[in-house]
């Protein structure tokens, strides 16, 4: 008997013994099973700035996990070795780490938060959901790093336990999503709006890929959409692309292009626009949108100074969007 997975907009109709597009949700005798539940292929302690998340407990460490599999197949994927892998592959071992152990590890290493990242947590939804629920009960906060390609009902359910949603908005055209990611744009926009409405702290990342989404007008449209739908206070990260996976023919994004994107974002009224994956001190710092003074100085993933006091600018008293303690 076929089963239909209703987790993401792909709505895979899965034959017995086969998996959905994500490779990790399989039909076993007419029952939909997740094979990666409790088996992450990566568990590491990262700086929160690596996600990138800049307005949530800056300078803190975060226990970060991923399993193999992804419901999208982005040709530019930076982590394709795990996102596009089958769980059966021998060279990518997993670790047995059920939600209880994950929460215990997070506490043991004194991490205030837990990240579901590297590959898309939508693919390991049930594992992320149960871990997030348990972590929240234990006073640990949950950070989801995702492309947001998920159906509304499971997304709303998951958001109940999510503190931070760091969502990729890869471009603002259906063509890009279809041709580069094997997905569609509308569900991602919906996921972003729902995350904000649910009260999660939202940060948006856009990977700027030469020739595909790096034109000033494309960047302007994206910045306008973020401001109009998520609010001008929403941090927007423009990340530099590096040739990976099926996009080895394109050059890395130049610092000049990323600087241009940042300038456009700010000129469109976004308060916090950052650039990442390249060395740029100014593009990584947080400035007060009121008095323009430096608030958080960063170098790479290190916070050199944080002047925010109780969520306010110490110079003009403006409230700074984020979670600071």
């Amino acid at each position: 008997m076929k089963v239909q997975c209703e987790l993401c907009p792909k709505m895979c109709l899965i034959q017995p013994g086969q998996s959905g597009e994500c490779r990790v949700r399989i039909n076993v005798d007419g029952v939909l099973r997740t094979v990666v539940y409790g088996y992450p292929c990566s568990i590491n302690i990262d700086p929160i700035e690596k996600k990138p998340v800049f307005h949530f407990l800056p300078g803190s460490t975060i226990l970060s996990i991923a399993t193999v599999g992804c419901n999208l197949h982005c040709k530019n994927c930076q982590n394709w070795e795990i996102s596009q892998a089958n769980p059966e592959e021998q060279d990518i071992p997993a670790y047995s780490c059920p939600p209880q152990r994950l929460v215990a590890l997070t506490k043991e290493h004194r991490c205030p938060s837990l990240a579901y990242t590297y590959t898309d947590p939508i693919a390991y939804y049930e594992y992320a959901y149960d871990s997030a629920k348990l972590a929240k009960e234990a006073g640990i906060r949950n950070v989801l790093v995702t492309a947001g390609y998920i159906n509304e009902q499971p997304w709303k359910d998951l958001l109940e336990h999510v503190d931070v949603a760091r969502i990729d908005l890869k471009a603002l055209t259906e063509d890009f999503y279809r041709e580069v990611c094997s997905g569609t744009l509308k569900p991602v926009q919906n996921a972003l709006i729902l995350a904000k409405a649910a009260g999660a702290h939202v940060e948006v990342t856009n990977l700027v890929i030469p020739t595909l989404n790096d034109k000033p007008e494309q960047i302007r449209q994206l910045a306008r959409w973020v401001k109009a739908n998520l609010g001008g206070e929403t941090p927007l990260h423009f990340s530099g692309f590096y040739p990976r996976y099926k996009m080895l023919h394109l050059p890395p994004t130049s610092l000049k292009t990323l600087d241009m994107a940042r300038q456009i974002g700010m000129s469109e009224g976004l308060d916090y626009v950052y650039i990442g994956n390249v060395a740029s001190r100014e593009g990584q710092n947080t400035y007060c949108p009121g008095c323009k003074k430096l608030l958080i100085e960063r170098s790479g993933y290190t916070v050199l100074q944080n002047r925010i006091k109780d969520g306010l600018c110490p110079d003009c008293g403006k409230e700074i969007y984020g979670v600071w303690k």
Binding site: L13, Y95, E126
Partner: protein, 65 residues
């Protein structure tokens, strides 16, 4: 076209329509999924790949994100 060939063609078209409609009704859309409760996948009994003991997790990951 003879009457027999016409009837055969008509039968072929009708069966194609029926097959298409049945495939369409089997596959619910994201819109219909919105209206009902999401059904979770069940945890598989075992991992199909290699499972190793947990190693030192204190170093930042080599993976992006």
């Amino acid at each position: 076209m003879t009457r027999r060939r016409f009837i055969r063609k008509l039968a072929q078209i009708c069966s194609l329509i029926v097959a298409g409609a049945s495939a369409f009704t089997q596959r619910a859309s994201a819109q219909t999924a919105k209206l009902r409760k999401f059904v979770r996948a069940v945890r598989a009994r075992e991992y199909p790949g290699t499972v190793k003991p947990l190693q030192d997790i204190r170093e930042p990951s080599k993976w992006s994100g």
